[in-house]
């Protein structure tokens, strides 16, 4: 049996990678993938806890997160296409029309 802490450490590393990618990368697609990475890091900790405590609710939560992530990527990709069409770029530093 793999100890719980291993899972949690991996989950933390995945989440941190996601955050770092989110902050550093300029391409929207990459940022989007970083978000997915963070979500999956969280998912990992959910299932780890669920296995540890023999509780199903954690696994149910993971399904919910997946559904939300799928919906989010559908909407997000649509937005990305719209941004690309209007701005002609995927660099987020150039998508700054809301700036004062």
């Amino acid at each position: 049996m793999v100890p719980l802490s291993y899972y949690l450490v991996l989950s933390g590393i995945l989440f941190a990678c996601g955050v770092a990618g989110f902050l550093i990368k300029r391409n929207i697609i990459t940022i989007f993938m970083s978000i997915e990475l963070m979500l999956n890091g969280v998912n990992l900790s959910f299932v780890a806890f669920a296995a540890q405590w023999h509780a199903l609710s954690g696994q149910v939560f993971v399904f919910f997160v997946m559904v939300v992530a799928a919906a989010e990527s559908a909407v997000g990709l649509a937005i990305i296409i719209a941004v690309y069409r209007t701005r002609g770029t995927l660099n987020v530093d150039q998508v700054d029309l809301l700036k004062l």
Binding site: V19, F22, L23, D96, K99, L100
Partner: protein, 667 residues
Amino acid sequence: MTPNLHLWLIPVLPLVGAAINGLFGKRFSRQTIAAIALGFSGAAFAMALWVATHASLLPVLENLAPWIRAGDFQVDFAFYLDQLSLVMLLVVTGVGFLIHIYSVGYMWEEGGFYRFFAYLNLFMFFMLTLVLASNYLVMFIGWEGVGLASYLLIGFWFTKDSAASAGKKAFIVNRIGDFGFLIALFLMIKHFGSLNFVQVFRIVSGLPTEAAGAGLLTAVGLLLMVGAAGKSAQIPLYVWLPDAMEGPTPVSALIHAATMVTAGVYMVARSHAIFDRAPQALMVVAIIGTLTALFAATIGICQTDIKKVLAYSTISQLGYMFMACGVAAYSAGIFHLMTHAFFKGLLFLAAGSVIHAVGGEQDMRRMGGLRHHIPWTFWTMTAATFAIAGFPPFAGFFSKDAILWRAYSSPYGNWVYWAIGVFTAFLTSFYMFRLWFLTFFGEYRGAAAANPGDEHSHSSTDSRAGAPAPHGHIHESPRIMLVPLVILAVLSVCGGWVGIERFDKFLSPTFHAGATVYSAEEVTASTPEPEPKEHGGSEALFTGISVLAAASGLFLAWLLYSRRPQLPREIARALGSFYEAVVHKYYVDEIYAAVFVKPLIDGSTRVLWQGIDRDVIDATLDNSAEGAREVSDAVRHMQSGNLRSYAGWIAAGAAALIAYMIWMGTR
């Protein structure tokens, strides 16, 4: 069960007229407007006459609807008619109706014809409410309402600055008086628990006379007098009335001579039960009346505007009425009120006819010799002039003589009142005949004779803008204006023949409560008169003296203004600064401006506006808005529009939150 007199119809009829003309009059023709206004005011007069035929039923109380009920205190919409209000009712509706007729002719060329008649009918409604009220609160509605109508009509030519400010002045000065009236009402509610005339007077008549120390009744009486002084233009609140001459002349005749300004006299006479038991208050009324009579008469001598002379004359005559009320000779005061309504209304209407004839000129120095051009106006005005001067057998003689005699012979009377009264009668006669000679005799000195160039520099205060310059064709007024003149002239001649004795007797049910107070034994007990008062022979002597005073006034006016017209200028030069003071109305307006108006304006400007409003209220808002702006100025740099910096903030926030939770967890 008394038959229903439907008193409520009398005030409501003019109100209906006012409503129709005021709401829809703009679309009506002038004929229709005049028909509506005359119809409804005439109907009110007819109702009043019909009611007068039922005089045997008086007093009548007509309760329409409850208004205020609070515990034991109750005020109703109710009308009350007794002999006193019947006299007022007939004067108001009668003179009012005649002036309505006159106004049709006078205002025919004016813009806002419907507005004028709507206001005039509205005034009638409020005045009749005032007169018919059965309690002080309903009276107060009328009291305020006539003030409103007066304001609207003084400022009828509201595009003219002087008219608009004259209206405001009248309204504000009246507010001061109304303040006193209101306090008096509050005192009555607190101490008598009622505002109903009958109830209040019943309670009051159970109280002892406050001869020595001044008490509640004196306070109530004095406060009522403050209200009356405001409405009836007595010292020190008379200043609004001369300015009120900015209004159209029929308005001056109706509101500022015949009816509204007498409301104060009516109110004092109505409240006689209170005044009878407050000799100090009564004395104040008499002193104010006497001083006002004298003071206004001296100013009247030096006025050159025909309407201003009549305005000061009105103030002076109202002073007589208060003098009469102040010596508890209420019926004499009301008698003078009635005759005054006839002859002063006529004087104003005739003056309006003169102004009409000479094309809007109001300065008497620019009139003269008009008697051949406008004979009807001349003869009617002559009747009124003799009436006000107090020549027998004209109406003014009887009422003024009654007042002067009572001023001396009443238990509250004093030879000082009488002496000032007679001197004022002399002054009255002098300034009225001065007006008469200047206007109707001698050579015409008007625009045709003078240099036409300066016609507008001496422009009249009556802005009859559409009136053509006279230039030789001085014309008599149309018949619709002359008929009221003639009727009022007849009344000015005959109105006094009823005599004070019969009048006294007619009013005695109203003043009966008062009569018991100054019965014989109380007279000897309470009057400090040095000599016993004889009736009969001495009364005739007094009458002779007052007629002599009137005659000498006539003679002096003839001497100065007809016989030797250069003499007044020399006298004026000889009197020097005193003459200057009188011409400037004793600088009262200037003093009021310096003492009351200017501090008020300065205080409002510096303290209330610049201090409180600008530096406190506005500053609080401005500074908090400025603070919010500065803070947001500082933090707005966070919102760079850079997506990754937002993400960085979120991550930093999340990290801070996690650190906090860990820190909390490890404690």
